[in-house]
């Protein structure tokens, strides 16, 4: 994997993170039983952690 930081790669990384974050926030909303602001905040931060892990995992596998 090339490690140059062109705008295109940055955009791709941000897109990947955002896609994971949105998907995992949706998953959180499916798991819980009632929705209220605190639940949104916790869900969004957990989804962010999940997105970072997903990105890190993919990078660790493809980066040799």
């Amino acid at each position: 994997m090339d490690r140059r930081t062109t705008p295109r790669t940055v955009l791709l990384v941000v897109g990947e993170l955002l896609a994971w974050w949105a998907a995992l926030t949706l998953l959180w909303l499916v798991l819980i039983s009632s929705v209220y602001p605190l639940e949104w905040i916790v869900g969004a931060s957990v989804a962010a952690a999940g997105a970072l892990l997903a990105r890190a995992g993919r990078r660790a596998v493809s980066w040799r």
Partner: protein, 246 residues
């Protein structure tokens, strides 16, 4: 002692123990009985403190001191493993060859890893509402990381697992539990008494006073403890080799 003699001794002791256990079983209150005095009181106490999951209330409020003991056993057990499995002087690390895993399995692992993380954190966060809590969710969260070993190889797992961070988190989480207990003491009540925070609205994430915080501390501790534990076993099983001369 010969093997035969040992078996005879075992049979004798086992028969005696079986007779005693059977007698004890016949004297226990019948299975499914209606009288549970402790249970009734625990449910009542949990409801007055706005904790929807009575089991979490028992663990992190009514018997929080007992849970402190459990977490310290867990901490000590992990510490013992780290000491026993550390790399000795007559051992060296050999890097294993990278594994070739079938593509569907690798994709599955990469896909399920974040999902498992979110589910584990969900189980921790909702510990005081629905079934779950720090102990269960912590194990699931730690398992999520190790999908990378199963789906790729140990080398990939090592890249996303800063072991020092997890060791520190483990210790910090135990400290956080203690500090929360001491905070109650400073506020003028008993150690680990749940009087520090408002009890909140029933059946929301912020209900139950200090229960969610203690729950989160235990979740962090269990998750990092399991990661450290598995890291030591993986090191031994995959990387560490003895010097063949010894």
């Amino acid at each position: 002692m010969s093997r035969r003699l040992r078996l005879w001794l075992l049979a004798l002791g086992g028969a005696g123990l079986a007779a005693l256990l059977a007698a004890a079983c016949l004297d226990l209150p019948g299975f499914g009985g209606r009288a549970h005095p402790y249970g009734t009181r625990a449910v009542h106490a949990s409801l007055t403190r706005h904790t929807a999951n009575t089991i979490a209330s028992v663990n992190f409020d009514q018997r929080a001191y007992d849970t402190l003991g459990e977490t310290s056993i867990l901490f000590a057990a992990v510490l013992g493993c780290v000491v026993l499995l550390r790399q000795a002087r007559d051992e060296h690390r050999a890097r294993p060859e990278p594994a070739r895993v079938a593509l569907p399995v690798r994709r599955y692992a990469l896909l399920v890893m974040p999902v498992a993380l979110v589910c584990g954190l969900y189980v921790i966060a909702h510990g005081q509402l629905s079934p779950g809590g720090g102990f269960q969710g912590g194990v699931v969260t730690a398992t999520a990381l190790h999908l990378l070993y199963l789906g790729a190889d140990y080398h990939a797992l090592e890249r996303i697992r800063p072991l020092g961070v997890f060791e520190t988190t483990d210790a910090l989480a135990v400290c956080a539990y203690l500090v929360l207990g001491l905070a109650a003491l400073l506020a003028g009540t008993a150690f680990l008494a749940n009087t520090l925070l408002p009890y909140g609205t029933f059946n929301t994430l912020s209900s139950g006073g200090t229960v969610p915080l203690l729950n989160a501390a235990v979740g962090m501790e269990v998750a990092s403890a399991v990661v450290v534990l598995l890291a030591n076993f993986l090191d031994q099983a995959v990387e560490i080799e003895e010097e063949s001369a010894g």
